[in-house]
């Protein structure tokens, strides 16, 4: 067992941190928050130069063969910087989907993502089908796609989406141009740009069907596992930032003639945040390794445990950060409240706590414990 980041991963993380320090601050964030498109061309170009677009994918298709842990360290830094660039949504998610599909057609699309030629988003959820990604309500009949998708994190700038739909009893992944859909765009809780799509009998030719049948479910589950791990990475970055800022605040903010960090109750709050943060970091390492495992049981157990843990403890850290900051913590003016929204957001994507506890409980039945 070995918990050190490899030299390479450390470099990726350090580079990400420096890059964000130089190119993304709270001011940039506030500007981006109010923009309709979150794909800043200059930063996207820089990300490409940093190798991020190719990092998650095999060298055989022009990528850099990075592991999930490498991507997680980037996403951790994005979380720590509150950065809204839709790197995960428009590179990692669609890219891994296409890589796992693995057909020639899919690889061509993946390469256009890696080469920054187009922006593709994933449309996996319906407006009230909960977290069940394997049973979309959208369907193809007589060669026409109808139905809807919600919560499509497209950064306001994708031109195509990879969408789930049913063809008869089969699950399929389609590549649909956004221009053929009715689109409603909006801001999500964390400030990112989402879209809801309605498909009005869109003509689907065979070239648009990326994958169908039993394999499709497996591909989606693999990608969701990546995304769950990356949710944790983003939350860790935010939780750590919150802890650091709150500790600093407690040391400097004076009330009743003393720094508030001198009060025992505040001290214990901070110690609880700190010890939880240590355990959150352990869970991040764990899930970053296990979410790319071939063994679906072990992978899903790891992902559900990590997301359930984060949904409780990282959220608690965010709540305590506000409580210790007092009034200033609930304003738009300080970053604390923005991290808080990010945290709530990520606790709900790709399964909330109840979903994951239930999944673990049912995995247990099959698995037995430890």
């Amino acid at each position: 067992m070995e918990f050190n980041l490899s030299e390479n991963t450390t470099m990726v993380a350090d580079t990400a941190r420096r890059y964000l320090k130089d190119h993304y601050g709270f001011v940039t964030y506030n500007e981006q928050l109010n923009q309709a498109s979150h794909c800043d061309p200059a930063r996207w170009q820089l990300m490409m130069e940093l190798g991020w677009l190719g990092l998650p994918f095999p060298e055989s298709i022009g990528g850099y063969g990075g592991e999930l842990i490498d991507v997680a360290m980037i996403v951790r830094e994005l979380g720590a910087a509150l950065c809204l660039d839709p790197y995960v949504d428009l590179v990692v998610a669609p890219g891994k989907m296409l890589e796992y599909i693995g057909t020639e057609r899919a690889i061509v699309v993946l390469q256009s993502i890696v080469e920054n030629d187009e922006k593709v988003a994933c449309a996996l959820y319906d407006c009230h089908a909960g977290y069940s990604v394997h049973k979309p309500t959208a369907s193809i009949r007589d060669g026409k796609l109808s139905g809807q998708k919600s919560f499509v994190p497209d950064g306001g700038c994708a031109n195509r989406v990879i969408a789930t739909a049913r063809i008869g009893d089969e699950l399929a992944l389609l590549l649909v141009p956004l221009e053929s859909c009715e689109i409603t765009r909006y801001r999500a809780l964390d400030g990112s740009r989402y879209a809801d799509l309605v498909f009005h009998d869109i003509e689907i030719d065979d070239g648009m069907i990326l994958s169908r049948g039993a394999e499709t479910s497996r591909v989606i589950s693999q990608v969701i596992a990546w995304l769950q791990a990356l949710d944790c990475a983003r939350m860790y970055g935010a939780a750590n930032a919150l802890y650091q800022r709150t500790l600093e605040y407690a040391k400097t903010r004076k009330q009743f003639g003393a720094a508030i960090g001198s009060f025992q109750v505040i001290q214990h709050y901070l110690v609880d945040m700190f010890t939880d943060l240590q355990q959150l970091e352990s869970m991040l390492f764990m899930v970053a390794v296990k979410a790319e495992l071939g063994n679906a049981q072990e992978r899903d157990r790891a992902c559900s445990a990590a997301k359930a843990y984060y949904a409780e403890k990282a959220v608690k850290i965010a709540q305590q950060a506000i409580q210790i900051h007092g009034g200033i913590g609930v304003t738009e003016e300080l970053d604390i409240g923005h991290y808080f929204r990010l945290m709530t957001h990520c606790s709900l994507t790709h399964g909330h706590r109840d979903f994951h506890i239930d999944r673990l409980a049912s995995l247990r039945e099959v698995n037995g414990c430890a």
């Binding site: 801001r187 809780l189 009060f263 505040i266 009034g327 913590g329 738009e332 929204r341 979903f355």
Partner: protein, 386 residues
């Protein structure tokens, strides 16, 4: 021991319920149903319509415009108001400055200010907190210097809710910079249109504008706007802390929130995890009942003319904790639906789409008016003798 309302009280309840059904504007109901906050005009229109009934200054003596109700009637009114989807009334005039004026004010002050409060015409805000005087209120620095015929006010207030709506502010100011911390503080009424007052909005993480910073630069306040004597500010502030607590726990609005929560889950056609949502709501309901009956005890004691007993001391702490817990449950039960922050159309369910705003807003409720940590410090000292 009797937990039933009397026949008279039941009749009263019936009449209030009927009135609410007629008079709560539909758009206001909709605002509440989604967990939103009313606009200024919605809020003021609603308060004026209560004012017309004489139902605004509920706790006041009849001579100043109170309805002469018992605490139980006020409690019933609050339940019926909340369950009809009407918002609570703004506390600053009715619950705060009003009682200060009729208790400590001169006859002229009573005549001048009280009618505007009971009618809902004058909107007030509270100038207490300052950047370096949050939990430690007594550190406040805003200076009111006594001149020939006015006080000259300089300084800054922060977290001033609805300052941008308000006609008047009641304000703690330091009139004697030499006196010890609490002693040099006075209670001043300030017209918000006075030259030298500048309001800067503070947006909250629910995305709305409730809070403000208020800057005073050489603001001239007439001497007659001092309530009580100079140096009595701290006494008056403490008086307010022990005033009326029969609705501080927010029980009525929490029951309304619970009802909305249940409704939202029933309204979502494919809600996947109803049994677990129902269990979670049952857990919240248990806590709410404990708070409700503790609150009942305070109400009943008030009607018997007893001072607030120890049972009322935790109402604010427990009430705010529960509000936060409920709003968090709502967000979590919403799942992905809670992510649609500002969608122009409904995504799945509008109540869930709105849930995070309320959740975010309510993070402040364990902070303002003395954080729950400060409340516990005070209880430890005053009640437990530690």
């Amino acid at each position: 021991m009797n937990l039933e309302f009397t026949q008279e009280e039941l009749d009263f309840q019936k009449s209030i319920r009927a009135w609410m059904r007629e008079n709560v504007p539909e758009e206001l109901e909709r605002v509440s149903a989604l967990g939103n906050m009313p606009t200024k005009s919605q809020q003021q229109q609603w308060e004026r319509s209560l004012g017309k009934q004489g139902w605004l200054a509920l706790t006041w003596p009849e001579q100043y415009g109170g309805p002469g109700w018992t605490a139980t009637q006020r409690y019933i009114f609050d339940i019926e108001r909340a369950m009809a989807g009407a918002p609570p009334t703004s506390p600053f005039g009715v619950a705060m400055v009003g009682p200060v004026i009729y208790t400590f004010g001169s006859p002229e002050q009573k005549e001048r200010w009280l009618p505007g409060i009971t009618s809902g015409e004058t909107l007030w805000c509270q100038g207490y907190s300052e950047p370096n005087a949050g939990s430690d209120l007594a550190s406040l620095k805003t200076r009111a210097e006594r001149k020939q015929d006015h006080y000259l006010v300089n300084g800054q207030k922060i977290w001033t809710t609805q300052a941008h709506w308000a006609d008047m502010m009641f304000c703690l100011v330091r009139t004697d910079p030499e006196a010890k911390k609490q002693q040099g503080i006075s209670f001043l009424l300030i017209d918000m249109k006075t030259p030298g007052i500048e309001i800067r909005p503070i947006y909250s993480i629910d995305g709305h504008h409730h809070l403000n910073e208020v800057y005073f630069t050489d603001v001239e306040v007439p001497l007659e706007n001092l309530v009580g004597q100079e140096g009595m500010g701290w006494t008056i502030a403490k008086f307010l802390l022990t005033h009326e607590r029969t609705t501080i726990a927010g029980v009525a609005d929490s029951y309304y929130a619970l009802a909305r929560m249940k409704q939202a889950i029933e309204d979502v056609p494919y809600y996947t995890d109803k049994p677990s949502a129902r269990r979670r709501m049952a857990e919240l309901e248990v806590e709410l009942m404990a708070l409700e009956y503790t609150n009942f005890r305070t109400v009943a004691a008030t009607d018997e003319g007893k001072p607030f007993g120890p049972e009322s001391s935790g109402l604010k702490i427990k009430g705010t904790e529960l509000q936060q817990k409920m709003s968090q449950a709502m967000v979590e039960m919403g799942g992905l639906m809670s992510l649609a922050w500002d969608s122009p159309s409904v995504v799945g369910n509008e109540s869930f789409n709105n849930a995070p705003r309320r959740y975010n807003f309510l993070r402040a409720c364990t902070i303002y008016g003395g954080s729950n940590e400060i409340q516990k410090n005070v209880l430890a000292k005053m009640l437990l003798g530690l």
